[in-house]
Symmetry: C2
Subunit: 356 residues, 2 copies
């Protein structure tokens, strides 16, 4: 049965990088991948046309798709929109929520060819391979009540950080299973010395642990986790945490690999439907110049093949092609270094296609 793929270019460099990733997707079709590829608007691009960051038509297509490839959303152009519900980011959050994409997988890997690009000392990041499992449809991102209102003669802003046992259990299982397939170490990150919601989080993780006897579970406070990522990132295998802490820690971890232009991510629901996107953002400062790095988006296609389309062989081919291009010394500007050749977004796409 032909499966549907939806491409959401989004804002900033989004259209440029998804264009290259779409060429790889087409090459996969040529090799027998039975998918139908559509496009739709999301984020600022959708707001400009429809006045909505997530138009009904886009949501409908997203629901119908087995997998979504997203570029990135947001930019200064839309930062002044008064109504928060109309901001580009809300389009992204809407897709996550409507499709129930609660399981966010964010690998932080140092590519051997790029180890020197890290701001950390090379010995601390060489061979680094962390998988951060972030809960993506709950926590303070979606908690009610929320808002800004008048209280006692002044305005007060408030949000609610909330998790139920079943939400925690669901993401916990994803993380334990991930740890089983990897180094068998799981570090759950919370702030259980201060926040009740994370006391429950820790309890549920503890309760699940006996079902995964081969996995060594540990707990770490979020402030310490931020420190340990900077101090000695290789101590981690799989980390699991809520939406907000995951947002912060996964970005820090991605940056310390020095390979942030290279890192894909997956957001999955229980049926394996997923959205795939680069870890980096929409980079409005370099949009339209043809110099953005398309590799994280291309590697997001590989993740899609592995997690939603059950095509691990094709995924591995893409990853190998990216490795080859790096070995050949090709680099976009963001990862350029002495002795390498700086290429454009499209040239990088050409090179990966050729190596594929």
């Amino acid at each position: 049965m032909t499966q549907k793929i939806l491409v959401l270019p989004g804002d900033g460099i989004g259209p440029e990088i998804t264009a290259q990733a779409s060429r790889i997707l087409a090459a996969c079709q040529a090799r027998g991948l039975d998918v139908e590829v559509e496009e739709a608007l999301l984020g600022g691009a959708a707001y400009d046309v429809h006045g909505e960051p997530l138009p009904a038509e886009t949501l409908e297509k997203a629901r119908a798709a087995r997998a979504i490839l997203l570029g990135a959303v947001g930019g200064p152009k839309w930062d002044r929109i008064e109504d928060l519900s109309k901001r580009p980011e809300k389009g992204l959050l809407g897709v996550r929520k409507h499709l129930g994409l609660f399981g966010n997988l964010r690998p932080a890997i140092t590519y051997p060819q790029l180890a020197a690009a890290s701001s950390l000392k090379p010995e601390l990041v060489a061979g680094l391979d962390i998988m951060i499992v972030r809960e993506l449809t709950g926590g303070i991102y979606f908690g009610q009540p929320r808002g800004i209102e008048e209280r006692g003669g002044e305005r007060v802003g408030f949000n609610t950080y909330v998790y139920s046992e079943s939400e925690i259990e669901r993401i916990g299982r994803v993380a334990f299973e991930m740890a089983q397939k990897r180094g068998k170490k799981l570090c759950s990150v919370d702030k259980a010395n201060v926040l009740e919601v994370t006391i429950l989080w820790r309890e549920v993780m503890e309760r699940l642990a006996p079902e995964y006897p081969d996995v060594e579970l540990s707990h770490m406070y979020v402030d310490n986790a931020a420190m340990q990522l900077v101090r000695a990132p290789k101590q981690f295998d799989v980390m699991v945490t809520g939406n907000m802490f995951g947002d912060i820690l996964s970005d820090a971890a991605a940056m310390l690999t020095g390979s942030i232009g290279m890192l894909p991510s997956a957001s999955l629901n229980e049926s394996g439907q997923g959205m795939y996107e680069p870890c980096h953002g929409s980079a409005p400062d370099i949009a339209g110049q043809g110099i953005a790095n398309p590799l994280a988006t291309i590697l997001s296609v590989a993740m899609m093949l592995r997690y939603s389309l059950d095509e691990p062989a094709l995924a591995a081919r893409i990853e190998a092609a990216v490795g080859k291009v790096l070995d050949d010394g090709l680099r976009t500007a963001d990862i350029a270094a002495e002795g390498t050749r700086t290429v454009s977004t499209a040239e990088m796409g050409d090179a990966v296609l050729e190596a594929f």
Copy 2:
């Protein structure tokens, strides 16, 4: 008028490091500082004796003191206390709240003698000098409602992230004034693309800005701030943020200097009453061995002299003494390096006293 100083040794290495800092305080008295020094129990140490992390007697002494010197609280011994309100950390949070110590100043400085100890490349951290201003008595740490309760057949944990305009304004002014005294750059950290409470935060910072025309205000999302700290920390001068984000970012920033054993902090209320403590924690793993680094606590005394006791000259003498000891090559185990001499906690105290 004789002012009161309260020393709270706390848990773990707390008693060892405050013992050395108290010797410096005594040396200041010998040089004419007119203070009376008392001690009291806080945290796990207080729980063990009184069944409370913040006994009434301690709180009373804290209220009466012009300044408090704290070692650190917490440790695995008390992590299993079921009642969150009895945990050591709640003692610390109680002092902050009862005394209204809303302004937390956390310098992240790289000591030139220790630049090599950073996990970052030396050129990225040499000369680093950031001041993180963290709101300390509001936000999600104290927001109501909070708890764990049964809803729809399962337990749900929840906390409330809340700030009023006046709370934001108060900490904003501390940060703007700090920036005026320093590099005149202030970066306010929020998550205004997702959280209403931080939309209000950003608005208030914007509203204050015209009153400080010499300060350049910028805004950054917390995930990006975590990345930028790793990528290029020297871009920052003063950062201001809420309680939770400040907890995470200040620890990350402290760690990336490589000088975490050296970093003091201050928590102030509107009348200049303050609590001073090292940025590092209670380090239960090395407690009682006489090897902990007392310098952050000694430098906390310097901060106390500067911010609560109006004795900048004495503060500068302490800082100079610490500098001299480092120049002489003395190091506790945590900052030991080739070509330096490893000393005990007490020997380090001796050396600073001698250089003072």
